[in-house]
């Protein structure tokens, strides 16, 4: 049985936390450049210019794109034939987060408990999701999520009779309510179906899909593009100062649901959609 040591995982997590924060992924940069072409508002275009320049400075100086370096989400896929050695995997991930946030001069934004609000000092714990998959590979995606956008999350337990029109209305209303707060232009993650918690997780995971790659289901792909047009017609624009580009993309993930329900969740990411993935398929270093 193949073995993977948690020390290697911790070291990789530390690096992923830093790389994710220093600069924006190529697909986001492409989307921002496209937005500049599309944006009719001069103020909006100036802001899009600033955001592109900002990403360049962050990458070249290894300074975070945004001072809100987020709470870390870790999405782990581990092969069922892989043996993880060297102690607790969750502890190793958190060790990596602490090291990455310390060494990378990243902000520690996590408090020990929600009411007393004393900082943990090292940005741990991360929110970790595990999936057991066939094979013996290991994959981890690190996503630092800022709370300007996380606070705009919405969950609707719609009735089946609300149907497509209800879903449409719910998503558009959530983005309109969010307004300027999640630093538009945004990426809108939508989770459709499952249970309440599943819908929220789908919405979050939808943000990890490469921008511009629509859902393989043609109905959902059509809904994504329809929602994007409707959201951009709201006029919120870059930073909420008015303009034609409010959403860079709408990404929907769906799951079977119960005969009595139509859960829909909206999880928004700001343009600073940061994530970095490491895939291990056997090499030792």
């Amino acid at each position: 049985m193949r073995e993977l040591n948690t020390d290697l995982i911790a070291a990789r997590v530390a690096a992923l936390c830093q790389e994710a924060n220093f600069g924006l992924p190529a697909d986001v940069l492409t989307a921002l450049a496209g937005a500049k072409e599309q944006e009719g508002s001069p103020t909006g275009r100036r802001i899009l210019d600033e955001l592109c320049a900002n990403a360049g400075i962050a990458a070249s100086e290894r300074v975070p794109v945004c001072q809100d370096t987020g709470m870390v989400l870790a999405f782990v896929e581990t092969g069922q034939d892989l043996h993880i050695v060297g102690g607790s995997l969750s502890e190793a991930i958190n060790r990596g987060v602490a090291q990455g946030y310390r060494d990378g001069y990243l902000r520690k934004s996590v408090v020990v408990d929600p009411l007393h609000r004393v900082n943990t000092g090292d940005n741990t714990p991360a929110v970790i999701y595990y999936d057991i998959v066939p094979g013996d590979n290991f994959r981890i995606a690190i996503m630092p999520k800022g709370f300007g956008s996380e606070n705009c999350t919405a969950l609707g337990m719609l009735k089946p009779a609300d149907g497509l029109a209800g879903v449409r209305q719910f998503v558009i209303a959530a983005v309109e309510r969010a307004g300027a707060n999640p630093c538009p232009p945004v990426v809108v993650g939508v989770g459709l179906g499952g249970t309440a918690d599943k819908a929220l997780l789908l919405a979050k995971r939808a943000l990890l899909r490469p921008l511009g790659a629509s859902n393989p289901d043609t109905d959902l792909a059509a809904l994504e593009s329809e929602l994007k047009t409707a959201i951009n017609a709201l006029g919120i624009g870059p930073e909420g100062f008015g303009g034609q580009v409010t959403a860079l993309a709408v990404q929907i993930e769906a799951f079977p649901t119960h005969i009595a329900g139509l859960p829909v969740a909206v999880n928004i990411s700001c343009h600073a959609l940061r994530h970095k993935t490491w895939v291990w398929n056997g090499e030792q270093d």
Binding site: G40, S41, P42, T43, R46, I47, E50, L51, A53, N54, A55, I57, A58, E61, R62, V63, P64, V65, C66, Q67, D68, T69, Y105, L106, R107, K108, S109, R117, N119, G148, N151, G179, A180, N181, C183, A230, A233, L234, G235, I236, G237, E239, G240, F241, G242, G243, Q244, C270, H271, A272
Partner: protein, 186 residues
């Protein structure tokens, strides 16, 4: 709307009254940083009739929690945080004499009314441009509440720090006016 005005900070109520929603400004001078926890403490002190740890009368407050500075840098990434969370505290601080706020995102009707009443101004810096904005910060030091870490009260010296007048002293709100001009539904 897009021409740009250079302003020295702090500035007077007269200057605040000249600023127009939508106008772009470049700030040079000093202002203070404070966010959630520092505001909570300000409110407690003011409620008891005490003195704030720094004199904020006539000053600007920037809602920010910077990342730690790398060695050799004056400040880490330092973009604005969402202003709405401070709405509950802002009217009280404007009444006390704060000249204006720098942050991002819209404000409550109560804050807009207080901005009009006290000849204040609300400036928006570009959210998510923390690396770019850090270039304009020449000096950053903790001015009070060091135990709050990034949430301490900061004093910044800035040069050509870019912002947009989001709510002017007449109560005109760019977050209303701007989107209305581009809305193409109903």
């Amino acid at each position: 709307m897009d021409e740009c005005r250079h302003i020295e900070t702090p500035f007077s109520a007269e200057v605040a009254r000249e600023l127009q929603a939508g106008q772009r400004v470049l700030l040079t001078g000093a202002f203070y940083g404070a966010r959630d926890q520092a505001h909570r403490r300000f409110a407690e002190v003011l409620a008891q009739g005490g003195e704030l740890p720094v004199d904020l009368r006539g000053q600007l407050i920037y809602y920010v929690g910077p990342t730690p500075a790398r060695p050799g840098h004056a400040c880490g990434a330092a973009g604005p945080t969402t202003a709405g969370r401070m709405d509950a505290f802002t009217p009280q601080l404007l009444a006390y004499g704060v000249r204006g706020i720098i942050a991002k995102g819209d404000r409550s009707p109560g804050v807009i009314a207080a901005i009009r009443q006290y000849d204040a101004v609300y400036l928006a810096a570009t959210g998510g441009a923390g690396a770019l904005l850090s270039h304009c910060i020449k000096e950053a030091r903790v001015a009070a509440f060091p135990d709050l870490g990034t949430e301490a009260v900061w004093r910044f010296i800035v040069e050509d720090f870019p912002a947009t007048v989001a709510i002017d002293s007449w109560g005109r709100d760019l977050y209303q006016i701007g989107p209305a001009g581009y809305r193409s539904v109903q």
